[in-house]
Amino acid sequence: MSFAVFAFCLLKNNRFDIPGYIPQPIYPIPDNPSENDTVQLGRLLFYDNILSANNQVSCASCHSPYNAFAHTDHDLSHGVFDSIGTRNAPALFNLAWQKNFMWDGAIHHIEAQALAPLHDPKELGSSIEELIKKLEGSFFYRKEFLSVYGDSLISSSRVLKAIAAFELSLISFGSKYDQVKQGDAEFTEQEQNWYTHFQKQCNQCHAEPLFSGFQYKDNGLPIDPSLQDLGRYLVTGDEQDKYKFKVPSLRNLSYTFPYMHDGRFDRLRQVVEHYEMIESSQGKRHVDVKSISLTFNEQSDLIAFLLTLNDKSFVFNPAFSFPEKLKDALLKN
């Protein structure tokens, strides 16, 4: 009896238990990521500074595992040579359910996404050509590619697909909300109070169970004149898309402050206050949200509910953290 239980737990850790109420993902999720060669190669690349022009910045520099792969403590993320970018790096989890990537959906395929920060002078400041040259010059990577692919060809396709595979393996459905949904826990009265409100007021944009429909919405944030970031409009050129950004998921909020595309809010309470003060008519803007009015207690209920969406097991999962192999390789050099 006890041996069977132990074996079941072991299996649970290796494979992903995607709860039944989660819709089908858009991208296939890698099987058995800790045994999956491509995922592990992607994980090495994700954490390796070799991707940047000055070999000092990696993907993980702005997408930190302890912060649900977001960039905390910085409103705007920064890259090589201390350059500051124009937006706050979003958290990376449950990417397989998203069609387009980045705050303005500029990237339409997950395999193409890594090219954007790779080439951006304020992020990694490099290029795919340069990266491939560096990888070809690395005995460590030539050995890795040989072991994964059977030959040591280092191509853009292999690099980008490996990084995408690692990113797709970042699954987060271990929050209290998920446990409640699966009958393994119960909301407190405070959390349940707001859950009921939530389903009426917030579900349109932050639809459960992913806590976003990943659409582009204008939530009434006054434009920051120092950034003039018009959001989705920069991709489509459609006037209707001005001031619209992709709705982020509300999962893991405690780990991913500051909030909004430009990181202007440090604390959740500030976000809540913003939603209480939205001006629906701001000149030509078509704001998609009406302001909500809450008592102080209701604000606390709301935040209590949001905290049930935190998935501690995700941020502490050793399968996603800095790979041991890279530590050894870096120590040798």
Partner: protein
Amino acid sequence: MNVFRFYVSNLRITNGKNKSWKAPKKHYLIDFNLDANTENLIKVELPYDFKTGQIEFVLGIDSKTSAEGVGEGALDPVNAMYWTWQSGYINFKMEGVSMDSPARKNRFQLHLGGFRKPYISAQKVVLDYNHKGANPMICFDLVNFMKSIDLKSQHTIMSPSKEAVALSKLAKSCFYVK
């Protein structure tokens, strides 16, 4: 001019009598700098009953391929024909220097791309040909192209737009068979 390259996709030749020949590769990257001395960049071996007919191809990468992410070979982003800040292939790239261009260092950079509505810049090109002994060649009328663009105002095109589509249509019209 120091950069001139474009994609040719779905190359097909028909002989006007319901027979068609498809190119072995779906996408080719024609790079005039790389193949400056080569005349026939895509070798075509046609059966003998293809004396006259039509050549058709897409100038650029079709929307479906673009939507599928990054590719290999001709589609490898290493070829610098892929936008990194916003996904999608650059169908046609031309760069150079001209006294007419008011841009920095008199440069002009035409990166024509876009695969989503309303700015789809890939163009289908259909040309009639007549195989009278000499091997037919598909040529690009560079003189006409340069004459038809106004570098004073169309010198830097780097995103999907109306201008990108207009110039793509112009490029399409510059292909002819010799």
